[in-house]
């Protein structure tokens, strides 16, 4: 195995890996500051922040020959015997000089800059900058201009790392951004009349190491240090991007992509990024409603589960519809409960919202046309419980004739998903229980209308288009009056204590072959459930390795 | 006593003059004591404020008029507040004992005054006196074992405190009660020893006789038995639980001590009783050691003719002395820090008790010597001359205390040389 030496420490790397100095140093626990380099983009080595000393150790004699000049670590490949020195006086001086140069033309307006608190320039200045300023610079005001519907450019805050330009060229493939002018007058800009309008545009804000690019949706809303990040999974489409939900006091302020090389790498689409607004929509159902003789009244959660249970058992037959927005844990609890109430209960996969087809970008990122996060997971749970997975259209086709017993529709859809004519068909059921985020023609005629949880309030796992299961905890608490599906079904199944996703996952892994790769600790980037199909015996061991990696 | 009870019984239709006299005395005394306690509280608060560079309560005057009267309405306002507070009894207390404790302590504190003279005699008042006899300014005149009664009743106060602490069912109250009982019992001994000297020298336990004795010789017992005086004053401070002996209720350690769980009127009873203890102690100090109503050249001897001017002067002198002693009590409160409990006990058992015994022995021995040379106890030379050995005793006793260093204790954690060395080695 090749050995690289970073600050005297030997790091073993895989011979197949192509790593640069920054990556190798990170494995040695050394952080080399950088602006322009990003693991998901090409290397330009323009910011000069990652300058280090490098050399080669002669494998025979053990003699080390250093290169006399400093080189950018991002551009220096690590191979057997490569030596990096990251903490020498020359390196420190180089970093201090770069910081000083960047700050010469930077408006020191951190108090009103939204990036303050997560700004590389700020952090590196404290870590690597000079203790005192040598130039007498007055703080000034940054020029700003709009780059498109989503992004504002603060021209003078820019450090010209060109990450955003490369992103538009390499990942989005739309090439809207460019560098205008030359030398000290360089600026990021768009060509007049061609705004930044691709569907991945929000990523340039995350990429920007300083406060030059501001997300119009988030700008001025909240300071970053007030927010807490919660690892979550996007519910926008079946890609299931790993995301961070940034919230403060149960209010979401933004979603950001979380690195997951197996799913979304470092990116997410704007549709998902701004797709959290429905969570705080004032039109959300927030109280359980009971309808008697056409009049709706607010029910009380303390007595409601027992009442529902009694009505369902008395209904003589149960059809349960599970939406693809439920987590697999919720689907399992619901399906098991349905079978406990009625041993022949029909469990049906709810309507799957479809878009206009997959959108693939030149960098490989794909927005799926299946606009729900967990069709596969819910379908597999239903298949495991009932043996076959009937879908929504089957129900609509068959319901007018066989409408007997109770119908429970677990919805949780972000937008309109059912029209009046479909709802009219389902009215035939004597007992109709609808659980949804927003009022719909169906909820208008339900005997019980229960508020559902949004994706950020759920705890559980989603299975994406590629059979990858990712687990997450809740990011915000549901509004008062809302009980998450998981808690409701847990309570209805008469289980002990509070809902615990781990317990349900253990059941899934034990009872269903499809989920057998699932282990207690799901790693942050999820588990590939296809592993079990390749080698069912080795599945557990591989999942463990995944956890370590 | 025998004759007066016969007279009381002889009253047929109307109240006998003696009974009427006793009732008047009781009413005046209780009224006077309660008022005095209330205004002494105000005085104490004003004193505290002055000593701490503040103004103190100076607002409450006549209601609705805006007239402030230097805050003289404050005691009334305080009383009204206490009385109209919710009579709250915590659920966890022993109800009957909880109610009984403040009553017991107040009754005991009041009854003591039955034998304490507030002056000498006043001339007969028609309708109150029996056959033109001068009226004695004590509720029970001629009660020979007055001092014994005082002691017996002041011991009852311990029951009040202990019951209050026990019945409250609260650890702070209980600790306060325990401390209080230990303290009161410990200081009862030096108190008694100091009084024994006075009893020996005056030949009576009747407080009127004690005053008469001092007035006759003109030599107050503070001059004749200075060591006894010092022991008595310190023990009296401790008995009335005043700073620096207020451990039963020290706020920093025990919240409120034995009355933590009390509020409203029940708390008021406790507070009044505590103040009455201080007043009792002041009376005893004045009567036993500071000559009672006697003052040289003003009040005359015990056998002088009883006139109104003379009588009122004597009352004024006695109450004036008491007032000054109470002032001293109050000044003390803001001058010295509180003792630690081990110091308190050491002071009682290791210092006050030996000094009290020494005083008692010296006084007894000197009395014997005097009886040898001056059997009639009339010679002024012996009277004044024998004071000198007592002063010598005071100085010697005091020096002995100082050199023995009994109170100088260090209860901080002690460093062990071995421990610190091994610790250092362990890490080197």
């Amino acid at each position: 195995m090749p050995i690289v030496i970073v600050d005297g420490k030997e790091v073993e790397i895989d011979g197949q890996e192509r790593l640069n100095g920054i990556q190798v140093a990170a494995r040695a626990g050394v952080e080399i500051p950088h602006y322009c380099w990003h693991p998901g983009l090409s290397v330009v080595a323009s910011c000069r922040m990652c300058l280090v000393e490098t050399g080669k150790k002669d494998l025979q004699s053990g003699k080390i020959t250093m290169i006399p000049k400093l080189v950018p670590a991002c551009q220096t490949p690590a191979s057997d015997g490569t030596v990096f020195v990251t903490e020498s006086a020359a390196v420190k001086n180089a970093r201090a000089m770069v910081e000083e140069d960047l700050l010469l033309r930077h408006p020191v307006d951190c108090p009103i800059c939204d990036k303050a608190g997560e700004c590389s320039l700020q952090d590196y200045h404290f870590q690597h900058g000079r203790e005192e300023r040598r130039a007498d610079i007055k703080p000034f005001h940054s020029r700003r201009r709009s780059l498109g519907d989503t992004v504002t450019l603060f021209v003078d805050r820019c450090v010209m790392c060109t990450r955003c330009v490369r992103f538009c060229r390499e990942v989005a493939g739309t090439r809207e951004l460019m560098v205008a002018h030359r030398g000290a007058h360089e600026e990021i800009d768009i060509f007049p009349g061609f705004p930044l309008s691709n569907k991945l545009s929000g990523n340039v804000v995350d990429l920007c190491p300083v406060g030059a690019l501001g997300d119009k949706d988030f700008l001025y809303r909240q300071r970053v240090w007030f927010m807490e990040s919660h690892a979550h999974v996007c519910a926008g489409c079946s890609t299931g991007c790993s995301i961070d939900v940034d919230e403060n006091q149960d209010r979401i302020y933004r979603l950001k992509p979380r690195e997951n090389l197996a799913v979304n790498q470092y990116w997410m689409c704007d549709e998902g990024r701004y797709g959290w607004k429905h969570v705080h929509d004032p039109g959300r159902l927030a109280q359980p409603l009971r309808r008697r003789q056409g009049r709706a009244e607010i029910a009380d959660w303390t007595a409601l589960p027992a009442e529902l249970d009694q009505r369902l058992r008395a209904a003589g037959g149960l059809t349960m519809v599970l939406s693809p927005f439920l987590t697999v844990e919720e689907a399992l609890l619901a399906a098991k409960y349905a079978r406990a109430v009625d041993a022949k209960a029909r469990v049906i996969l709810g309507a799957v919202p479809e878009g206009a087809g997959d959108e693939r970008f030149s960098g490989g990122f794909t927005i799926r046309s299946e606009k729900c996060p967990n069709r596969r997971g819910v379908a597999q749970v239903i298949r495991g419980i009932c043996g076959e997975a009937a879908n929504w259209s089957d129900l609509l086709d068959s319901s007018p004739s066989s409408a007997s017993g109770a119908l429970w529709v677990a919805g949780g859809y972000k937008s309109d998903w059912i029209d009046a004519s479909q709802a009219e068909l389902l009215r035939a059921f004597p007992l109709l229980i609808v659980q949804d985020l927003f009022p719909s023609p169906l909820s208008e005629c339900a005997d019980y209308c229960l508020p559902a949880a949004s994706f950020a309030e759920r705890e559980g796992s989603y299975v994406n288009y590629n059979d990858r299961l990712q687990s997450f905890g809740w990011a915000i608490r549901p509004p008062a009056g809302v009980k998450t599906e998981a808690r409701l079904f847990w309570q209805l199944s008469q289980r002990e204590g509070m809902y615990r996703a781990e317990t349900v996952r253990r059941e899934l892994a034990e009872e269903f072959v499809y989920f057998s790769a699932l282990s207690d600790a799901v790693p942050p980037d999820g588990i590939d459930l296809k592993l079990n199909r390749i080698a069912p015996q080795a599945a557990g061991a591989t999942a463990e390795m995944g956890a370590i990696g | 006593m025998g004759s007066s009870s016969e007279l009381l019984l002889a009253a047929d239709s109307s109240l006998s003059p003696l009974l009427l006299q006793a009732i008047v005395k009781i009413v005046v005394l209780i009224g006077g004591l309660m008022t005095a306690a209330a205004y002494f509280v105000l005085l104490e608060r004003r004193m505290a404020a002055w000593i701490q560079d503040r103004r103190g309560p100076n607002r409450v005057g006549i209601p609705l008029t805006g007239i402030r009267l230097f805050g003289l309405g404050q005691p009334l306002a305080d009383g009204v507040k206490f009385i109209f507070k919710e009579a709250y009894t915590p659920a966890h207390v022993d109800r009957w004992m909880y109610l009984f404790a403040p009553i017991a302590i107040l009754v005991a504190a009041l009854v003591v005054f039955a034998v304490i003279p507030v002056g000498g005699m006043v001339p007969a008042v028609p309708g109150l006196a029996d056959g033109g006899q001068p009226i004695s300014l004590v509720v029970i005149p001629g009660f020979d074992s007055g001092l014994l009664l005082v002691f017996a009743l002041s011991e009852i106060a311990v029951y009040g405190v202990l019951l209050g602490g026990w019945a409250s069912n609260n650890k702070y109250s209980f600790l306060g009660g325990l401390r209080s009982s230990a303290q009161l019992i410990a200081y009862e001994l030096p108190l008694g020893l100091a009084i024994l000297g006075v009893v020996l020298a005056s030949g009576s336990m009747n407080l009127e006789q004690v005053i008469a004795r001092q007035a006759q010789s003109g030599l107050w017992f503070v001059l004749a038995q200075p060591l006894g005086f010092v022991v008595f004053v310190i023990a009296a401070f401790a008995e009335s639980a005043r700073v620096p002996f207020d451990l039963p209720e020290c706020e920093q350690e025990l919240v409120g001590g034995y009355h933590t769980e009390y509020s409203g009127i029940k708390l008021l009873l406790f507070l009044v009783a505590e103040f009455l203890h201080m007043i009792t102690a002041s009376f005893l100090i004045v009567i036993l050691f500071l000559g009672g109503w006697h003052f040289w050249g003003i009040t005359g001897g015990p056998d002088a003719e009883i006139g109104w001017l003379q009588s009122l002067l004597r009352v004024a002198v006695l109450l004036g002395k008491v007032f000054l002693v109470i002032l001293f009590f109050m000044l003390t409160r803001w001058s010295w820090p509180r003792f630690r409990f081990d110091q308190l006990m050491a002071l009682a058992w290791k210092i006050m008790l030996p000094l009290g015994i020494a005083n008692f022995i010296v006084v007894a021995a000197l009395g014997e010597v005097r009886a040898w040379y001056d059997p009639k106890f009339a010679d002024r030379f012996w009277e004044w001359g024998l004071a000198l050995p007592n002063w010598v005793t005071l100085v010697l006793g005091w020096l002995a205390v100082a050199y023995s260093g009994t109170l100088v204790t260090d209860n901080r954690p002690q460093r062990t040389s071995r421990g610190s060395d091994s610790h250092a080695e362990g890490f080197s």
């Binding site: 007055k138 703080p139 007030f226 | 560079d53 503040r54 001058s335 260093g405 109170l407």
Partner: protein
């Protein structure tokens, strides 16, 4: 911490001399101090201020910490740039700001609403320490009262009106910054 911890520095208690152990000098010392203060107070030299009759004298209004005010800039606009640093510094969490893009060309961000709960505030002055533009200041108004909780929640207009009322008696603590808005 154990008694033999090497980090403990042991200080020996000074030994009492014979005068000290006789207690009399201490006795006299205590009583002297008491009398000194008693004499001073009886002569009328007390520290208490009889408040409603007599207004307290605040010698240095610039260091007194009373009601907040929001300063105005030279053009009469609120000086605050909605940076949230005061809300960040506030230990009582009594400041609530909603920042939006400013309507003025020379300013980027300004507070659409700026609310201080004066009842929740502990008057520590951390907000004015934190403010990068000296927009929030504590005045020397000490007699702040109200009849309801709602009344004591000061909004931007009220805080600006406090500035208007106090700007003559208490000038802004910093010189106007030339063209610096951040």
């Amino acid at each position: 911490m154990r008694p033999d911890d090497p980090k403990i520095r042991w200080v020996d208690e000074p030994k009492l001399g014979i005068t000290g152990r006789m207690y009399l000098p201490m006795f006299a010392q205590g009583l002297t101090t008491t009398f000194k203060h008693l004499k001073r107070s009886l002569a009328g030299d007390v520290l208490t201020v009889s408040y409603p009759d007599q207004e307290p004298r605040i010698d240095a209004p610039l260091i007194y910490r009373g009601v907040h005010r929001l300063n105005r800039d030279e053009q009469g606009r609120v000086k605050c740039v909605a940076c949230f640093l005061c809300a960040t510094a506030c230990p009582a969490h009594c400041i609530d700001i909603v920042g939006v893009e400013s309507p003025w060309p020379d300013r980027e961000k300004y507070p659409q609403s700026f609310t201080i709960d004066e009842l929740r505030c502990i008057y520590c002055g951390m907000c004015e320490e934190a403010c990068p533009v000296d927009a929030i200041e504590l005045t020397s108004l000490y007699n702040l009262t109200g009849r309801s909780r709602e009344e004591m929640i000061f909004d931007k207009e009220k805080l600006l009106s406090v500035f208007d009322a106090t700007k003559d008696t208490e000038p802004m603590r910093s010189a106007p910054t030339e063209g610096t808005n951040a």
